[in-house]
């Protein structure tokens, strides 16, 4: 085993070592922190608390955060923006999206046409890795990963979100101070 040669300490270094200068230096810094924390304005409420007080205080989640999925609706007509194009299901690496569409007969300019309409949308959040590829694939800004991050449920079946949950949002208990 090769050993590292440590040079012999000089007299002053020996003296410093005897008076524990190395330890006192570190202790001085930690003491400074202890005193400073009480009066620090960066801490929560100036009380020397630096941690987030979740769930009493909701964390400030960034606008781009990839959280719970949502199907957006037209704000005026309250119809779904989804055109059942299936692009999100194709883009998903984990194959956790199922888009079920049905054909509806409509009349365009006096002629009967068939139109694809969204019937059911299944999103398995237990397999989702929140990479947001589905959100990027969506041509109508319908499927969106929101800032909601509380996805825990009591059962495996609860991870599978249907269209109603995706559109209305899931009911969760929100704790606030």
């Amino acid at each position: 085993m090769p050993l590292v040669k440590v040079p012999k300490p000089k007299f002053i270094e020996k003296l410093k070592r005897f008076f524990m200068a190395d330890l006192l230096k570190g202790l001085g810094l930690t003491l400074k922190y202890n005193i400073g924390a009480v009066t620090d304005s960066d801490s929560v409420g100036g009380k020397g608390i630096y941690t987030e007080q979740y769930p009493k205080v909701r964390p400030d989640v960034a606008p781009r955060f990839h959280g719970a999925p949502r199907l957006n609706m037209d704000p005026e007509t309250h119809d779904t923006l989804c055109i059942a194009c299936n692009l999100c299901a194709i883009a998903c690496p984990e194959d956790c999206i199922d888009v079920l569409a049905m054909d509806v007969e409509i009349v365009v300019a006096g002629k009967p046409r068939k139109k694809k309409v969204l019937d059911e949308f299944v999103f398995d959040t237990s397999r989702c890795m929140f990479c947001a590829l589905c959100q990027e694939a969506c041509p109508t800004w319908c499927l969106e990963l929101t800032q909601d991050f509380e996805l825990a449920t009591y059962s495996r079946a609860g991870f599978v979100w249907n269209r109603e949950m995706l559109e209305q949002g899931r009911e969760t208990v929100k704790y606030t101070r």
Partner: protein, 421 residues
């Protein structure tokens, strides 16, 4: 044979079953335990093994100790099988694979754009660097020209990720050795970087930071002020870590001369990153094969002298200072323009293979990609720095104490997600 000779008579069973059992035992000793051995036979063989053991553990000076996979200082699910003489390590073996998820196989069944999130889950401490390997490999293989702004942003954010990775290393390494204060301080600084990542990429840890051809989004509004604030505070924070650790007698006695590896040995094993530079080998892919915008950056590569744990600690601290310098320069010279190149809707690579590697926080992380011309890769192979750095563990640990094994695992800076893949 010997096993049969030592078998105590009447051990196998009593009553009517004796004859059958003995006959089978003879058959076993003649042919050995091959495949197709029934379960009940294996049970008897097991009894034979017990019967031949004459020495107890206490009779031998050696002791075999399992460290991990639940041991908190193995940084994940690494199992180290230690052979000890007293408290001195005389032999050592590693058992890995507890975190195997088959990422390389999964990648063979995904389109090129879909594979990037899986790369984040290799070295989850440095997800941004890992993602960069994948997108750069695909871009270079298809001959895509990425806009300069994307290159600069990639440089800034991977360097921030390097700082975040080194901070977590410092925090856990110091905690392993017994300095709890540094853990709290280092995680405080890392939190600031993770907040920048959350605002930029939408996730803190597994960011899915890059897309093939550029970035998913341009920078957010306060991107530059946020990073400027971080890099202006950071040097004083680094000095604080040094005040607590660098001269501390406990830290010195736990790190100086521990886990020494010479430059020749380090090269022979194939170490990379700070583990290699700690031994004094000037090898940094950012300098030797510049990627992203590193060719335009001015920075130094810190080197150690002795190749011990203390030198690797100093190298990583200095690397954080240099990373800060790179981020500062890249922000000053950040060009305007688009962050995405034009891409076909379905990416198909030319038939052939390609290897590209970058200097990740842990070492050289590379991707070997074989394409058969379809929309999915034929083979994706990861060159994992942690796995190869772990090979030095035995050489570093021999002759040291059990407590030093913890320090040496810490100094190698391994992540099991990347070792097992």
């Amino acid at each position: 044979m010997e096993r049969n000779r030592l078998l105590p008579s009447g051990r196998v069973g009593t009553g009517g079953g004796v004859e059958t059992s003995r006959r089978t035992l003879h058959a076993v000793t003649q042919h050995g335990t091959g495949a197709g051995c029934p379960a009940w036979l294996a049970l008897i063989m097991h009894q034979v093994e017990i019967a031949t053991t004459r020495e107890t553990l206490l009779d031998s000076p050696e002791m075999v100790l399992n460290m991990g996979p639940q041991h908190p200082s193995t940084h994940g699910v690494l199992r180290v099988i230690l052979k000890l003489d007293g408290e001195t390590v005389i032999d050592l073996d590693c058992d890995i694979g507890y975190l195997h998820r088959g990422m390389e196989k999964i990648a063979e069944n995904r389109m090129y754009t879909m594979i990037a999130p899986y790369w984040d889950r290799l070295d989850y401490i440095a997800a941004v660097s890992n993602g960069l390997v994948w997108v750069e490999t695909v871009e270079q293989m298809m001959g895509l020209v990425v806009p300069p702004r994307a290159h600069y942003l990639r440089t800034i954010l991977t360097e921030l990720n390097r700082i975040a990775s080194h901070l977590l290393w410092l925090a856990t390494h110091a905690l392993d050795i017994g300095a709890v204060t540094v853990l709290l301080w280092a995680l405080r600084e890392r939190e600031e970087i993770l907040k920048i990542f959350e605002r930029q990429f939408g996730a803190r840890l597994t960011c899915h930071a890059w897309r093939i051809g550029g970035m998913p989004n341009d920078t957010y509004d306060d991107f530059e002020p946020d990073i400027r604030r971080f890099i202006s505070n950071f040097p004083t924070r680094l000095d604080e870590y040094e005040t607590v650790l660098s001269e501390n007698r406990i830290w010195l006695s736990r790190t100086v001369g521990i886990g020494v590896i010479s430059a020749e040995e380090a090269i022979a094993i194939g170490l990379s990153g700070p583990a290699l530079r700690g031994s004094g080998v000037a090898w940094d892919i950012r300098k030797s094969r510049p990627y992203a915008a590193y060719a335009d950056m001015d920075f130094d590569v810190p080197l150690g002298e002795n190749g011990d744990t203390y030198d690797r600690y100093l190298v990583r601290l200095e690397e954080m200072r240099q990373s800060r310098r790179i981020v500062d320069q890249a922000l000053d010279n950040l060009p305007d323009g688009p962050v995405n190149a034009k891409l076909p809707k379905i990416i198909k690579l030319p038939i052939g293979d390609y290897y590209h590697s970058i200097e990740g926080p842990k070492g050289e992380i590379g991707c070997y990609l074989v394409s058969d011309g379809t929309a999915q890769p034929w083979r994706v192979r990861v060159r994992p720095p942690s796995l190869i750095n772990l090979q030095a563990l035995k050489q570093m640990c021999l002759g040291h104490l059990v407590a030093d094994v913890v320090a040496i695992i810490g100094t190698l800076d391994i992540v099991l997600g990347e070792i097992d893949r």
